[in-house]
Structure formats: structure tokens, C-alpha cells
Subunit: 240 residues, 2 copies
DNA sequence: AAAGCGCACTAACCTAGATTAAGCCCTTGT
DNA sequence: ACAAGGGCTTAATCTAGGTTAGTGCGCTTT
């Protein structure tokens, strides 16, 4: 993610694009602006006319949809370095919310236009990020559609660990995670109650624990094998 | 879709891009080539190095993923005028298969490159198509994650009817549909057996029938209301 | 014409996960 | 200091959908 993020910064600094609006300035380059949100804030909802590309620079974000009956489903979690923009707020009526304190870099304007007008390195980076998001969502669909609750939950924890690039210490991985069990439920297509049960199972089976905001996976490889987790959908392959 | 398709054709005819490879030629313009597949053929699988944008010009196509245990899930159905390319075969390891006899227009090469090099009207059309596909997939996730089997199934039938632009005759809609119950199951995250049960229910409830390749919805509006179907995710909004 | 196969259909039974309904611990606000 | 609310936890019960195990029909193939 880190390298990725740097690419975006360079693309922005070099770029024609200067994000406008009333934002807080940060850093040396006057073209780099950030927007800051608190946990729970809505960053974008489908109705709004505020179209933009969002580049997450710190914090956790969820993109999802609300149903008429009050239920919610989370399509994807966005971590630092990730981008959201095409087909998110506009057509899909997605709702983007901050799960923790978040800073976001915003490229205002219709994403389509941005993409077409942007200098090549930027649009290329944006497209790659979109493609990666698509891959995550495809895998997410597999989870919800065809995996059991335990497998599904473990899969998500593994995905997060990989995306955060946590390096295992003798097989063990630990990271902060601001998600509530309700968030997990909405992402996994389960009930919060059942998520709790599953978490208990994973804990008692010695696979992974999630307590007071910290995820701990005892043995990444064992768990990965157990739930048939294949991280290749997360990585950019060299040849592209 | 029809208008959409014309846009693509115009973009192609005007364009720098001339699809290469050993394809059958059709039509007056020597730059327009088509590839033809029979029902059941694999159009693209993740492993292949044959990257391309695919524009469906006739027939039904499914894009999905195969699991190691042999299960399959269908991410999205592609109908004439639809495009597939970004994040599909490359990262997501999706598998694209023909559900009926299909003709496809192919823009070979890495989709990212294509998009960035293509003349503006073409890349714009491609991006819109991608955004629309994303919106469909988001809605699909809602179905699988939070809707009951009947609601989910009816929702899919309605989506197909809308996308095919079938005009209702006094509320009733009829169209040919090459899907098997197993295809439906893989798209809905259900079992073929259960799909059968659901179809029976819809039939006996007087909502919709699907028999020998023909879908018939008795009263589109009633069914749409019944399952809270909101077609807006399928349409391009004017302001974009 | 028989065999084989893919697809639709059904019934009997079973389990994963939903629902309901508590109780508990913290944090936040008054 | 108390109340209120959000989040976690658990147990008891219920049900939607999965599993298994068929049947029958209409094709291709030989």
C-alpha cells in the first residue's frame, strides 16, 4: 500500500489536477489538500451531488448500501492507499462512511471526467485501484454466496491482514481493527449475533481472536489453508 | 442497450483501435471484427494471457468464478451492448462463459492500456459500461447478502427484463432466457433444488413463470413492488 | 431402439444461521 | 451519581435453505 500511495502522491504533485474546495491544507505542496472525518461520519452518500474520487490517506472506511428495511450491507472496506470513485456513489448509490478517524484526499468532479482528463500516471493509478477493488468485491461475492460463516469470517480477517501488510512474527499476525461486530455482520451477510458465535469458535479453535479492537491470527498459513484463502486476488501481478 | 451499442460501434469505427487477431470479418467496415462462440464455450479464463475488452454484440454471457471445491458463482450476466474488461479476467480471475450462441467484439490488449490510449468517446463509453457493471454487482451483493430466496430470484428476473428493455404489454413481460436453473442457482447463491422450489412458488403465486426457456412476469409493477425492486441502478443518470 | 445425458422437478430430512430476549461492561452525558 | 446507550456475550428456539435421493422427459449418440 505504501508504495502505491506514494505513486498517487507523485501523480498528484506532478498533475494538472489541483483538488479544490474548502479543505485543510497539509504538507509542503500547496496542491495537496486533505479532508478529515471522525469515526461514524458519512463521507458520501448516493443522493449527494458531491462527486469525487476519494483517496484514503489514513483510517478505515466502509463502502456499502442501505436497504429500505434498514439493513445495511458493506461492499468493501477501504484502507489507506485505496481509492473509491467509479460507479460507487453515482450509479450504485453506495454510501461511504468512516469507521475510524480518517483523512482523505479528494479529487472533486465526475470520476469519469477526472479519469479521462488526468495525466497518464494518475489515471493509470486510479484505474489499477479500481480494478483491484473489483477483484476484492468479486472475492467478497464468493464469500457471501458460497462459503460458510466461519470460513467467510476468517477469509475477511486474512484479507485485512494482507492488505494492511502486517508481517507475521513466527506465523502470528496482530493488528488494530476498528470494526464492530455489526460492521463485520454487514460485510459478511450475517447477523451480529452469529458473528459473535463465529468469533468465539475461531477463538476457541485457536485460529484467531478479535477482542477490544485487536485482531490476532495465531498461524496465518494454517488459517489460510483451513479456509482456502488465496491472496493472489489482492496483488497486482507484475505483467500489468 | 441498443443506443449504447451504436455508440460503441461509432466509437470503434471512428477509432484508432483496430482489433487484430484471427477473427471472422463482418459488415462493411474492415475494422469491425467479431468472434463467435457456441453455448457453453469459455470466452476467457483467468489464467489465459489473452487480455482484452469484450463487447457483447449478441447472446448471453456469464462472468463468474470457480471455487476449488467445484462450486461456481456467477457475478454478473452480460447482455448485448455490455462490456467486460477491467478487473475481470486479470486480477479477479474471473471466468467468462457463453450461455447461448454469442458474438463478441474484442479489443485485444491490456484493458488499462486500451482505456488510456483509446479515443475519448470510446474510453468514455467503456468507463460508463464498467461503472454500470459495478452498480449491478453492488446490487447483486445486496441480493445475496440480505434478501430472501424468493425476493432475490424475482429481483434477478426483473433486472433481466429491464436490461433487455422488454416493454410490458398491459403489465405483462415475456422474454427468452437461456439460463438453466443451475445457472440461476450459481448467480443467486442458492442450490439448483431450491431455485426450483422458488420458481414453483413464484409460478403458483401468479407472479412469474420460467418454463422451457421463457420468462413471463405477470405484472411487472406488482412484482417490483413486492420485492422492492428499484431499477435506478441500471440506468445512467442524465447528469453524468 | 437402446443407452446415455442434461435438465426439470419432487419429497423427506437435516443443519446453519436467524430471531428473540436477556445480561453485562463501558463510555458519555446530565 | 445516575441514567442511557452502544457494543459484546450467551442461551433457547425457530426456519430458510441445504442435502440426498430419487423420477421423468427429451435430446443426442451409437
Amino acid at each position: 500500500m505504501a508504495g502505491e500511495f506514494e505513486d498517487f502522491l507523485k501523480a498528484l504533485e506532478a498533475g494538472v489536477l489541483s483538488p479544490g474546495g474548502n479543505r485543510r491544507m497539509e504538507g509542503a505542496n500547496p496542491n495537496i489538500w486533505r479532508r478529515i472525518y471522525a469515526a461514524g461520519d458519512t463521507i458520501a452518500d448516493g443522493d449527494e451531488n458531491k462527486q469525487a474520487f476519494f483517496l484514503i490517506s489514513s483510517g478505515w472506511v466502509a463502502s456499502g448500501k442501505m436497504l429500505t428495511n434498514g439493513a445495511r450491507i458493506v461492499l468493501d472496506f477501504l484502507l489507506p492507499g485505496d481509492v473509491i470513485g467509479i460507479g460507487a456513489t453515482e450509479w450504485a448509490r453506495e454510501i461511504v462512511t468512516a469507521l475510524s478517524p480518517v483523512t482523505i484526499m479528494e479529487l472533486p468532479g465526475a470520476p469519469l471526467e477526472t479519469l479521462l482528463k488526468a495525466p497518464k500516471p494518475l489515471s493509470s493509478a486510479l484505474l489499477k485501484s479500481i480494478a483491484r477493488r473489483n477483484a476484492r468485491i468479486a472475492e467478497h461475492m464468493v464469500s457471501i454466496g458460497r462459503r460458510g460463516a466461519v470460513e467467510r469470517t476468517a477469509h475477511l480477517l486474512l484479507e485485512l491482514a494482507y492488505r494492511l501488510e502486517i508481517k507475521p512474527e513466527k506465523g502470528r499476525v496482530r493488528f488494530q481493527c476498528p470494526l464492530t461486530q455489526a460492521d463485520l455482520a454487514d460485510a459478511l451477510g450475517l447477523t451480529a449475533v452469529h458473528v459473535n458465535r463465529v468469533l468465539k469458535e475461531l477463538r476457541e479453535g485457536g485460529f484467531a481472536s478479535f477482542r477490544s479492537g485487536v485482531v490476532e491470527i495465531q498461524d496465518v498459513l494454517r488459517l489460510a489453508e483451513f479456509v482456502a484463502f488465496d491472496a493472489s486476488y489482492l496483488a497486482l501481478r507484475a505483467a500489468r
